[in-house]
């Protein structure tokens, strides 16, 4: 547990020194969200309809872009090998890194989505549901992306390769995340969607760090 917190604190501290990375993800999200009304037109009826989809995909892409760097810095300066060699549970340490990354990169996206919703004239209750689905969904994205990041450690074409690997796996999260808002729009309940997202999140939190640990060991051999 101490090791978990130590890694968490360390990652957060290191990232604070390199704020650029965190902010660039946020800025990317803003830019992408802005591009769509420019491309499609300012008809608010249309924008309101497509807002959940666009805001979800934008957050998904932004979080995917930053995932490539999850293990890279530690790998390059040799810290990663040290982590693998410690007697501590590697899965736990990986979970700490994933959590740090999510707090730094994805949580801001979740918060920003509500503001971006204004650009699309998204009604407040829809925005709340969307934020809640992003809150449950982005950790899943981080967990899945972390596995891809661990497997592609040090490979050429890393970032694009991670995207290619992980996008098919993101589809269910995207479908259920945006489905909740659609359901709200149709006057139906959103409970089921949150249950499903939770049902995907919990195993992912358990399984992904373990898979990452295996992948890291394979990559470092």
């Amino acid at each position: 547990m101490n090791a978990f917190l130590a890694i968490l604190r360390r990652d957060l501290r290191v990232a604070m020194k390199r704020k650029v990375e965190v902010l660039s993800g946020l800025f990317f999200y803003l830019v992408v969200a802005t591009l769509f009304p420019l491309a499609i037109g300012s008809d608010l009826d249309i924008l309101r309809k497509i807002a959940p989809g666009i805001l979800w995909v934008g957050a998904l892409l932004s979080s995917m872009l930053t995932l490539g760097r999850l293990f890279e810095a530690d790998w390059q300066d040799g810290t990663l090998e040290q982590l693998v060699l410690t007697p501590h549970n590697l899965s736990l340490l990986v979970l700490a890194k994933i959590l740090a990354h999510w707090l730094l990169c994805s949580l801001p996206l979740v918060l920003m989505s509500s503001i971006l919703g204004l650009m699309f004239d998204l009604p407040l209750d829809y925005a709340w549901v969307m934020m809640a689905t992003l809150l449950l969904g982005t950790p899943i994205l981080s967990c899945l992306g972390a596995i891809a990041s661990a497997l592609t450690l040090g490979l050429r074409g890393g970032g694009v390769l991670i995207s290619l690997l992980v996008l098919p796996l993101y589809v269910p999260v995207l479908v259920f995340g945006t489905g909740a808002v659609e359901s709200l729009a149709a006057g139906l309940g959103v409970q089921a969607y949150f249950s499903i997202l939770l049902a995907i999140l919990l195993p992912a939190l358990f399984f992904s760090p373990w898979a990452c640990a295996q992948a890291l060991r394979v990559a470092l051999e």
Binding site: A148, R156, V166, P168, L169, V171, V175, G179, A215
Partner: protein, 245 residues
């Protein structure tokens, strides 16, 4: 029994075994293909609603099935390889991938060819075709990952991990796409819904499926023999092979 099976986990033994099996598979596959196409194109009757256009299913359905079966086979070999740490398992997994990707593509192609005359559009976002598209992406991802890793041991293990991760997600993806499709569906019916089938149609589909299966195994065995040659090139048994003189 396990001892008997484990003997073939050695690349040398498998090389010989696969080499012996391949000609049989080619023969069986050819016969099945001829029989399947004969019944499908000459014996099976015209469909009441879809006319002669329905005959594409004799290629579309077997291709879809094979793309899914091969993905599962890859997962099985991956699991065996990671559990028993056999080198051959990783080789088999990567030997299967290109064939699976090709069948996934063919499923999409024939699906579009079937959909256009029947439903007016080359691509309608129906659940089966959309899942097949995602499966195709999963294959491409595996191939991209394994192509990017030079170290053979790392390549096998990383590929195996990813194959398993993908396979575990396939049911979730399939389920989510069906959910998504029913959400957005108007009155449209699934493109890939087969016509109610006369028994000759079913027989033809079955024969073509078995034919594709024989083909897939033969190609995978052939490919894995090549991979074995590349990996084990400095082994004495490879150097003394008749074909390597």
């Amino acid at each position: 029994m396990m001892g008997f099976l484990f003997r073939f986990a050695s690349p040398q033994a498998f090389y010989r075994l696969a080499g012996q099996i391949i000609p049989w598979l080619v023969g069986i596959g050819t016969l099945l293909t001829l029989a399947g196409l004969w019944i499908g194109f000459f014996i099976a009757p015209t469909d009441a609603q879809q006319g002669e256009g329905y005959r594409i299913i004799f290629l579309h359905v077997p291709a879809s099935w094979m793309s899914m079966i091969i993905f599962m086979a890859m997962a099985l070999w991956s699991f065996l390889g990671l559990t028993f740490k056999t080198r051959l398992s990783g080789m088999m997994t990567s030997a299967l991938a290109p064939t699976g990707a090709i069948f996934a593509f063919l499923s999409l192609w024939t699906g579009a060819m079937w959909g256009k005359p029947m439903w007016g559009a080359w691509w309608v976002w129906d659940a089966r075709l959309t899942s097949e598209l995602i499966l195709f992406f999963l294959y491409l991802g595996y191939i991209a990952l394994t192509s990017a890793i030079e170290n053979p041991a790392r390549r096998d293990k990383a590929g195996s991990i990813w194959s398993l991760v993908g396979s575990i997600n396939v049911p979730i993806i399939y389920f989510s796409v069906i959910w998504w499709n029913t959400l957005h569906q108007g009155a449209s019916v699934s493109v890939t819904k087969a016509p109610s089938m006369a028994h000759q149609m079913l027989i033809a589909m079955l024969l073509m499926s078995l034919a594709f299966w024989a083909y897939s195994i033969a190609i995978a065995f052939y490919r894995v023999r090549t991979i074995i040659l590349q990996r084990e090139y400095d082994a004495h048994w490879v150097q003394s092979l008749p074909e390597a003189q």
